[in-house]
């Protein structure tokens, strides 16, 4: 673990990504503490306040402080995205591994079905699921998880099959290791790396998907200060108060970049044979 972190920070992308995400994490943890205002406190006279001394990042159409909303919003945006990806990955990983080990017809059946599900575009699945569960963070979260699961299943399966071919697994079997031990001690550590990398990069997608769902009105709901929602609320005032779009838009972009960078960094760092 330490080993990996060290290697990760040695890769330029890894270092940069980690730095960016560190900031994001801090905001998620302590944002509310440093926020100058209550994110939902409205101020009739302060509507559309230009960024400045009173409102560092300006204020929105209800006179709510943009900075405070941004700081609070981090919690409404990033952790759900993480959670969704995690859920999707776990679900997918389980199915994928099962398919890989069941093999034969089962494998065939599972994978074909997964292909079928993947034929429905992710955003569409998300939309349908979200509108089924009713709009809101929860719905969006589950929706993304479901949209991600098939892809992750596919990846996990192929990784599992590849690892299964390695001689050290054969060696373990020949040595008379128990099935569980082979899976957890020999295969998992090696199978994990690619999956971790993939899901890290997917968090970036999740952040964007979250935002997009909010934009389409099935994601987070007002008065939540979820970033995507802030952008779509702000779009209307684009010309009078551009900061209402720019600020949360950048926040989303930077976070996503962070995860993409981290993912690429991990890909290098997790390569056990230390090649570049």
């Amino acid at each position: 673990m330490v080993e990996v972190t060290r290697r990760l920070l040695r890769t330029p992308q890894g270092a940069l990504g980690a730095a960016v995400l560190a900031v994001v994490a801090l905001v998620c943890l302590f944002g509310p503490l440093i926020a100058p205002y209550d994110p939902e406190q409205m101020d009739f006279l302060g509507r559309f306040a230009v960024p400045g001394a009173h409102h560092w990042l300006g204020a929105d159409q209800l006179g709510r402080d943009e900075m405070s909303r941004l700081l609070y919003g981090a919690r409404a945006t990033v952790p759900p995205a993480l959670l969704a990806t995690l859920a999707g990955t776990l679900a997918g990983a389980i199915v994928g591994t099962l398919a890989a080990f069941a093999g034969g017809r089962w494998d065939e059946a599972i994978m074909r079905t997964i292909d079928a599900v993947m034929a429905i575009p992710g955003l569409l699945i998300a939309l349908l699921v979200a509108s089924t569960l009713g709009a809101g963070e929860g719905g969006a979260l589950l929706a993304i998880a479901i949209a991600f699961a098939p892809g992750m299943a596919r990846i996990t399966r192929s990784v599992a099959l590849a690892v299964r071919q390695e001689d050290y697994v054969a060696a373990a079997i020949a040595r008379g290791e128990t099935g569980l031990r082979i899976v957890f001690a020999e295969m998992l550590p090696n199978a994990l790396a690619p999956v971790v990398v993939e899901s890290t990069i997917r968090v970036a997608f999740a952040v964007m998907l979250m935002a997009t769902l909010s934009f389409l009105g099935v994601g987070a709901q007002p008065p939540a200060s979820e970033w995507g929602l802030m952008v779509s609320d702000g779009r209307g005032y684009l010309h009078d108060a551009p900061w209402l779009v720019i600020v949360p838009g950048l926040a989303i972009g930077i976070t996503a970049i962070g995860f993409n960078l981290l993912g690429d960094g991990l890909r290098d760092a997790l390569n056990p044979r230390g090649e570049r």
């Binding site: 209800l62 009713g134 008065p223 209307g236 005032y237 010309h239």
Partner: protein, 516 residues
């Protein structure tokens, strides 16, 4: 008696000549010809005029179809297919005289038979037309002779001519009305000023001048293209860039920008369109009037106009009538009074405040804005409100007319009676608040059968005071209707009703671009 008949006849006669008077009055002679591009913010999916539900659909059906009357911007009725009308003394039987020589787009004559058939279809519950509950207490419609139609009402009703101007009360060929209506889903055969050329609900609907139209002087433009631009920001950009000539309805967000853009004229008219916070008066906690009154006292209505309507509106006084209505009674505006609100709430048995969940659909977005603003304002008085938003479809299916604390949104209606008996009387079509106030019902019923202006004004005045006092629903804001046109678009008056557009009366000035 005679006087009354005289008034009505007079009104009709006056009406007959009025459109010409108004459209010509202001400016020079209209120029004919040209193509008008008007944009709407959502798809006009339903073409059948009896079933249209949203403004873009009303806009289109108004181009293609006509009713017996239509609504002037001052909310009085003007003749359309009917050239005059009269009522018997007790106002339960009305006789409408059709213009002679009316033709449908396909050239077939439009007679009283078609009117009769159209109304029978509209009033048939299976049709599911909104006209059924909005055209007054019609018992039956009978074609006396080819140009005469007689309306028998279940009770006296003075507003019938205005009521018949209702958006869904359009005349379709009898053959279709009593036959297969499904053809109206993709084709149109009406008596309106324009004929349907092409219908792509999600993109654009094109209509062209109807040569058979009863008034040879209208329409002025040869062709109208109705374009669907769902994104308000882009829509405004399109008008500024000159890609379109007219935006039927502008969001407050865009209005400031449009007002300052050159070559563009921003239009604004006070209207009776409002948001209300409905409270179920037949269930806890709102069955106690004091709770409702307390909530009403927490609202800073002037500020609310700013928050919800971006300042483009007028404060509401918990009655559905705005200054735009004919029978508006100017009551002192309720101010924000937290101590009083606290007191009322305490008396109602909630000394430590009360927890409520306010439901708002996401469409239009102003519903949630109102809900959130409400929550913030009511906090101080001890209302702990949780705002719950949901997709409009879910809202209609689960909350609307059922919930006991939610945000409603309504267009201006043609008459005071229409809006009152749509929402607030015990027999309301959409009983949102179940207020069931017999005193109120009596006032509305009496006003219905009264023709004397002063009397009606007084009756409706009392009704308004009653609502203002008992607060079946909090009505904090009336929206101004906003629109924008290229400056060369002339003769277009933004209609406060919201669902009426009268595009046949506008024309393209000299500076208009010539479009193929």
């Amino acid at each position: 008696m005679t006087t009354r008949r005289a008034i009505l006849a007079g009104a009709a006669a006056l009406g007959a000549s009025l459109p010409l008077v108004r459209t010509r009055a202001a400016t020079v002679m209209p120029v004919n010809g040209g193509t008008l591009r008007v944009s709407v913010d959502q798809a006009a999916g339903v073409l059948n005029p009896l079933l249209t539900r949203v403004n873009p659909e009303y806009l289109v059906s108004e181009l293609l179809y006509s009713g017996l009357t239509r609504l002037r911007p001052d909310m009085t009725a003007e003749p359309d297919l009917a050239e005059s009308w009269s009522a018997d003394p007790d106002l339960t039987t009305w006789t409408f005289k059709l213009r002679s020589g009316l033709l449908f787009h396909d050239g077939s004559p439009c007679t009283s038979r078609d009117v009769e058939a159209s109304f029978h279809t509209m009033l048939d519950p299976k049709t599911g037309s909104a006209a059924r509950s909005n055209c007054g207490p019609i018992k039956d419609v009978i074609a006396a002779d080819t140009t005469t139609v007689v309306f028998h009402l279940t009770g006296a009703y003075a507003d019938l001519p205005v009521a018949l101007a209702y958006t869904n009360a359009k005349i379709i060929p009898a053959s279709i009305a009593s036959g297969d209506m499904s053809v109206l889903a993709r084709s149109a055969n009406g008596t309106g000023p324009f004929k349907l050329v092409s219908f792509e609900p999600e993109r654009q609907i094109v209509v062209e001048r109807n040569p058979h139209y009863w008034d040879p002087s209208r329409p002025h433009v040869d062709r109208v293209e109705v374009l669907v631009y769902p994104d308000p920001t882009a829509e405004a950009s399109a008008l500024i860039a000159g890609d379109i000539d007219l935006i039927a309805s502008v969001q407050p967000q865009q209005f400031g920008r449009l007002r300052t853009a050159d070559g563009v004229t921003a239009l604004r008219v006070p209207s009776g369109q409002f948001l209300n916070v409905n409270m179920a008066c037949d269930a806890k906690p709102f069955d106690d009037m004091r709770v409702r009154q307390a909530l009403a006292l927490t609202v800073d209505r002037q500020a609310m106009v700013g928050f919800v309507a971006q300042g483009y509106g007028t404060p509401g006084n918990d009655t559905p009538l705005s200054p735009a209505y004919h029978f508006y009674r100017d009551l002192p505006l309720k101010g924000r009074n937290i101590p009083a609100a606290r007191k009322l709430l305490a008396e109602a048995g909630y000394p430590n405040g009360i927890d409520l969940t306010l439901i708002a659909s996401t469409d239009p977005g102003t519903r949630t804005q109102l809900a959130v603003a409400m929550r913030e304002m009511a906090k101080e008085a001890g209302f702990r409100i949780t705002v719950q938003t949901m997709p409009h479809a879910t809202y209609l299916a689960q909350v609307w007319k059922k919930g006991n604390f939610y945000v409603g949104f309504y267009n201006m209606q043609a008459t005071a009676d229409a809006i009152f008996s749509l929402l607030y009387t015990s027999s309301a079509a959409w009983p949102e608040t179940r207020w069931n106030n017999t005193k109120f019902d009596a006032l509305i019923a009496k006003a219905r059968v009264t023709t004397d202006e002063a009397q009606r004004k007084d009756l409706y005045g009392q009704a308004q005071m009653l609502m203002n006092q008992e607060v079946p629903s909090v009505i904090p804001v009336f929206f101004d209707l906003l629109a924008a046109r290229r400056s060369y678009v002339e003769g277009y008056a933004l209609h406060p009703r919201g669902a009426v557009f009268l595009l046949d009366q506008l024309w393209l000035g000299a500076k208009a671009p010539r479009r193929g």
